[in-house]
Symmetry: C2
Subunit: 418 residues, 2 copies
């Protein structure tokens, strides 16, 4: 049985802590972030030990390569988490920043000032480093945070959270600023999603069913972090050597993440020259290639792609390939089958590039670069809460600024409206 | 019976039109806005005629003074609507604007570029000028728009919409860029709220029941335009003459709108000096004053305020008054009973002012000015879609910029991720 009163109480404590957190000075927050990073490294054996429990369960359940890759915590990955926290300490504090100043003809001075959002609920799956990244970003931007991780990572998340929370409180941040829901009962999420007035924003990161359920049930604003069905279109005017390196990188370098390429589109005029070697190289890297009939005629060892392949985020060493008539067909394909995450064109033709960049309505559009760059750190934002596939409030990598709202502060001298 | 297929079809046409609208040049949009304003003036007799039908029905139904004031269209108000449209033609087009440019160490050039949101659904009540303001703002920012006005204004809204739509199409804007739902069946709204993927944003403007229903049912992001329970706090260090003018203006100048004051808070140390004259002046202006016991002891003709008064948006010549112990009690009252819309302090003490401005978590906070200034035009934004009481995406007056999203456009020279 779900204890609604206990959940409401947890949210109330988070709200109350967030009000205190809103006025904590930057130095205190930064000192806490650095200390929390050090605590992660000091507790690495404990964290990896807890992580091994999750990994054992995952293997027994037969989870996919991609999921197990996302779940795994090595000493290296823990050091990366710690570095990410101390990097955040070095970022500018967005809270209190004046975004804009206007002086009106009647003398009113209007300042638009950044403020924290309040309390954020993040619902996420598998990757335990999300736990520390989100904690760091929310504390730095003075937002309260409620974490709801996936059941498959509950031991890892709990270990990371406990280490971070203890250190945060020790460094003077308000108790209950961050909390973790350990109980993996799904009905708890339903209960959280109706706490409007206490929780200010919900960020679901994960697959289609999670996203749909949260959007349907939430009475709180939601910013979806949905799948990445990312495309690279190799144009007739592409530097084919560059195209090969970009496509190889986008598929193979880390296939288990949302900014990896899932579908490669190739202009029919360069397909015969480009595809045979490219497909061979993919197959040598262990990539299963599924193609349209034209692709299968041009390259060896390509399976027939089905209609559903074009919609699929494999998150694995699988790639779908389609030969297209030109940039219009490529854009049409991406708009129909894509997830508006990250899409790239490889071309030397500036006009074609601008057409693609203008018409593809995705969060990140690239010319002559790998889609793998869609990432908070790569964009120079420090860490990220994730990649928003929504168009409201935040789009693409969601860093510190995207975790703020604003208010108008208006200074008068007795002005009244006529 | 609700025809779900017809509604879906309407949304599809809106989406398709919005894609075309996204690439219409600024000149064409501006010419259309000016022409639409002229068409309103040319058709003023027709529009006011249709408005009289609504007003007749409203009077027979016994609607309140505030509602009838909001519903009434005079030649003056139509001229103001037209002026608002031609003013929008003079505003900078936000679409395509580069918000930020970053060059990364690896040479990637990342541009953050403003794009339209897509298709916006606005659900609103009474005021027919909302129809023309929203049409103008959405067309200027290249967003498709679906309008759902209240049944009490259906004749006025239909007349305004028909005049504007005809002129927009004549001026070369894509057909179906704007549409109006004339059928006032409430189930149509339910059907619209599940058109995720076709509608990108829902803006409900209205009372509590409308806002709650929309938040509960929508699978599309919602930006709430909720009530304004606005406060003015007269501090012990206030210039009392200034305080009197500000409070009088905030309550009396136009009581039927959301930025009018509903509750006046007065420091106990100045209450005896301030309240008697202030209350007398309010009563002379026809304001019904409801107060706490201390207020009733100090001023004549004050009724007892009930607990529910403090939560109420009267939108009428009614005011609740409370004597408080100081700025902390004032802030506490506002945070408990307010709607986070617009709140003001009158004080000469800078420290008290900054405390109030920092701790009151409302969209607009004022020192020494009337809350009536919370308004797109008054803020220098041109017209507004309304006043957001949410913290996500847009807060306070929602003008052209707030009707845009952004995308990252990334220029590379073959960069891959290591």
């Amino acid at each position: 049985m779900i204890n609604g009163a206990a959940i409401r109480d947890l949210c109330r404590r988070a709200k109350s802590a967030s009000r205190k957190l809103a006025i904590v000075d930057t130095k205190t927050k930064d000192r806490a972030l650095v200390a929390m990073g050090k605590a992660l490294i000091a507790n690495a054996p404990y964290i990896t030990g807890q992580n091994r429990k999750d990994l054992g369960l995952a293997r027994r359940k037969g989870l996919s390569f991609a999921l197990i890759d996302r779940l795994t915590l090595s000493d290296d990955r823990i050091r990366a988490m710690a570095r990410s926290l101390s990097d955040m300490a070095g970022l500018r504090d967005p809270v209190g920043e004046t975004i804009e100043t206007r002086r009106r003809p009647n003398g009113l001075l209007i300042k638009k000032v950044r403020v924290p959002i309040g309390v954020i609920l993040i619902i996420y799956e598998s990757r335990p480093n999300v736990t520390s990244d989100c904690v760091g970003l929310c504390l730095k931007s003075s937002n309260g945070l409620i974490l709801r991780g996936g059941s498959e990572a509950v031991n890892s998340n709990t270990a990371i959270f406990d280490v971070l929370n203890k250190e945060a409180v020790r460094c003077g941040l308000p108790r209950d600023s961050i909390s973790l829901i350990r109980d993996t009962d799904r009905r708890i999420v339903d209960e959280l999603l109706v706490q409007e007035g206490l929780i200010d924003l919900v960020i679901p990161r994960g697959g289609e069913s999670l996203i749909k359920e949260v959007s349907k049930k939430s009475r709180i604003p939601v910013i979806k972090h949905y799948k990445g069905v990312c495309h690279t279109y190799v144009d007739e005017a592409a530097d084919l050597k560059m195209a090969e390196e970009i496509c190889y990188n986008a598929k193979v370098q880390r296939p288990g993440v949302c900014n990896a390429m899932e579908t490669m589109l190739v202009h029919e005029k360069v397909a015969a020259k480009f595809l045979p070697d490219m497909v061979r190289r993919f197959r040598e890297a262990g990539v299963e290639v599924r193609g349209c009939p034209a692709t299968r005629r041009l390259a060896a060892g390509v399976k027939q792609a089905s209609e559903s392949d074009w919609y699929t985020e494999y998150l694995d060493l699988v790639l779908s390939v389609k030969v297209v008539g030109g940039v219009d067909e490529a854009v049409g394909h991406i708009m129909k089958y894509g997830s508006y995450h990250s899409d790239a064109i490889v071309t030397k033709n500036k006009k074609t590039a601008e057409k693609f960049l203008g018409e593809v309505d995705s969060a990140c559009v690239y010319v002559n670069a790998s889609t793998r760059f869609t990432d908070g750190a790569q964009f120079g934002k420090g860490a990220e809460m994730g990649i928003s596939t929504d168009k409201i409030h935040a789009r693409g990598p969601m860093g510190l600024e995207e975790l703020t709202s604003y208010k108008y502060v208006v200074y008068g001298k007795g002005q009244i409206r006529r």
